[in-house]
């Protein structure tokens, strides 16, 4: 069955209507962006780090099969069980089999975007396994039955009062609690016994190292290390693109990751798993789920460099004012808009349009993914594949005709300026002008540049390169 395209613009309208949430969301993410900038300015080598991170990732991707084999060899020799999953369904089956073979009925789990991709929780729930998320933001989202709205801060679209309401329902805390400390403490106290009695633990992985067979988990709350070290079984789900060749390469990425994400020099925990402890088990599930196909897309393969810091989301004016849930996808924001269509081109065909093309995402990306150029490329692909909505397609046809004929264009522009200056609001802001929803139209100018030029250069006629040059000098 063909799925309907996500109505991003429609969902954004609802998000914008709620001013307290919108204002907090916008300000919080912009604050993260500014803290990132402050960290960047402290390091004179910042641009060098970005270039190196990009080069290392491109090299690793161009040799991915070899590095995966090297990782597998080393991890296995250290006692790690390595599994391969072609897609989400295979990943879920592997995890369920590991749990079933050990009679595990409870799984304590830290945040992992790949398991969101695979939709692991409902699969395990249907097989009688209780999955408890223990990252605070992810737990809030689990209890509220929502996807994470941001890849680093999953519940950033919620206010304290929302969390108080959710925790009151699930943890029996005060529904009017207004102190985040009190609510975070409630999560700590609720999670501890679940962690202590869990049959197995699960984490994601930010990086893995071919040279040593190590995987690395970067977190702040301590919940991932609890999930990994307390139960006797640790399963880590990792996307195949997260490999780096050498241990020495990690320095570049660890220095960039948390500075780009939150504006802190490093995450509170940077944990390196190279093998199981005596008497316990360690499993790594390497997940493809479309990545090997994406590697073959000439315009889009570099999106696999992504280290999931979320900097592009924090800086994006569209993301900040529409919220992650409006994207209707596991990955939201600019990075989501360029990778989601590889999962389902029709369903996510609207997302590459959720951008002003300002290029800020590209500028902040720590691994130099040309995100805004890929957004543009996706629009071309979607038009070629007829994945463009009818109204937008017709408007583009009209705009193309208009802009292809200078006389017609100038007449239209003059008409527009007159209309902006004289027409009443109801004639300008209505259903014929979707752009004008939630936005003010630009103030009309007194005169277009073209008519000014004609008035001031009545005899010059058409400007030649020579006359332009002379004027610049003068």
């Amino acid at each position: 069955m063909r799925e309907k395209p996500v109505n991003h613009a429609g969902a954004a309208v609802a998000f914008i209507a709620d001013k307290p949430h919108l204002d907090f969301h916008d300000a919080r993410l912009w604050d993260m962006r500014q803290k990132r900038d402050a960290q960047m300015h402290l390091l004179p080598e910042w641009q060098d780090l970005r270039s190196r991170a990009s080069a290392i990732k491109e090299h690793a991707l161009a040799n991915l099969a070899d590095y995966l084999e090297e990782f597998e060899r080393n991890a296995k020799s250290n006692g790690i069980h390595v599994h391969w999953a072609a897609d989400g369904a295979e990943h879920n089956r592997i995890v369920a089999e590991i749990l079933e073979a050990r009679g595990a009925r409870t799984l304590i789990k830290s945040k992992s975007m790949v398991t969101e991709e695979c939709d692991l929780r409902p699969y395990l729930a249907a097989r009688g396994v209780t999955v408890t998320e223990n990252d605070l933001g992810e737990r809030i989202q689990q209890l509220d039955d929502q996807m994470p709205s941001h890849i680093v801060v999953p519940s950033v679209h919620k206010l304290t009062s929302d969390v108080a309401r959710i925790f009151a329902r699930s943890y029996g805390t005060d529904p009017n609690a207004d102190d985040p400390h009190q609510l975070a403490e409630a999560q700590r106290l609720a999670a501890r016994p679940v962690i202590l009695h869990a049959d197995a633990g699960m984490t994601g992985g930010n990086f893995f190292v071919a040279e040593t067979g190590t995987f690395v988990v970067c977190t702040n709350e301590g919940n991932a290390d609890l999930s990994a070290t307390v139960p006797g079984v640790h399963i880590a789900t990792i996307g195949i693109e997260r490999v780096v060749p050498r241990m020495a390469d990690l320095g570049v990425f660890i220095r960039l990751l948390s500075r780009s994400a939150l504006g802190s020099p490093i995450t509170q925990y940077t944990s390196h798993f190279r093998g199981p402890q005596d008497g316990s088990e360690m499993h790594v599930v390497l997940v493809d789920n479309g990545r090997s196909a994406r590697l073959g897309m000439a315009d889009f393969w570099t999106s696999l460099k992504c280290i999931r810091c979320g900097a592009c989301m924090n800086t994006c004016p569209v993301y900040r004012r529409s919220g992650g849930l409006s994207y209707g996808a596991v990955y939201s924001g600019p990075i989501g808009a360029i990778i989601d269509p590889t999962f389902n081109e029709r369903k996510y065909s609207t997302l590459p349009y959720a951008s002003t093309m300002n290029g800020s995402c590209t500028n902040v990306c720590p691994v130099k993914i040309n995100i805004h150029e890929q957004l543009y490329k996706w629009r071309q692909v979607l038009v070629e594949h007829h994945q463009m909505p009818f109204v937008k397609r017709e408007i583009m046809h009209m705009a193309g005709k208009l802009m292809g004929q200078p006389r017609l264009y100038r007449a239209a522009i003059n008409g527009t300026e007159t209309a902006l200056g004289t027409l009443p609001r109801f004639a300008l802001y209505n259903w014929l002008n979707p752009w004008g929803k939630n936005r003010e139209l630009p103030a009309p100018v007194k005169e277009t540049f073209h008519s000014w030029y004609r008035r001031n250069r009545p005899t010059a006629g058409k400007a030649t390169p020579e006359t332009v040059k002379t004027e610049t000098k003068a």
């Binding site: 090299h59 161009a62 919620k158 990690l250 090997s292």
Partner: protein
Amino acid sequence: MSARDSILATLRRNSPPPAAHPLPDPAVLGEADASPERFSASLLQMGGTMLDRQQGETLDQAIALRFPKPGLMICSLVPEATGTVRIEDLPTPQSAEPVDVTIVRAAFGIAETGSIFLSEAQLHLNAIAHLTQHMVVLLDPAQITANMHTAYLRPEFHTARYGVLMSGPSATADIQGVLIRGAQGVRSLAVCFMPQ
């Protein structure tokens, strides 16, 4: 064909030309200052604290001053402090749950980030680092490395099965952006400079 073989085959078929993407040499960039002063400043920024001993004060006395509440369960993993419980008496992660304070010696520290490195060699029971309420970390100032690049040249990353860089206490800002030190792991982390 197995998932493994089909993934590898697709990757080999779809791979960009490897010759166009050479691997840069490993980099050692950034500030080379490996001083205890830089380490302390970074640790404070990450929400950690320094445990300074007064003249003639023993480590036990300094810890008792920092944690004055009577009856605390203190687990010492170092010969420099006594504590109230030995790690040998905590055979499982579950048995480490009631520990209030754990005293451990880090293998090394990182001046850039105020991080300390712990592995099974120091912890014996890895979970104690996360179940304990508070942690006191002994660090030999001679074992401070300048930054993340120099840190990853240390041999511990090639030998430890579990190696964690802890940079201050656990923290979260998941509720309305309010930074909370002491999330789900240790509530506080104090470093005491002490040559080995």
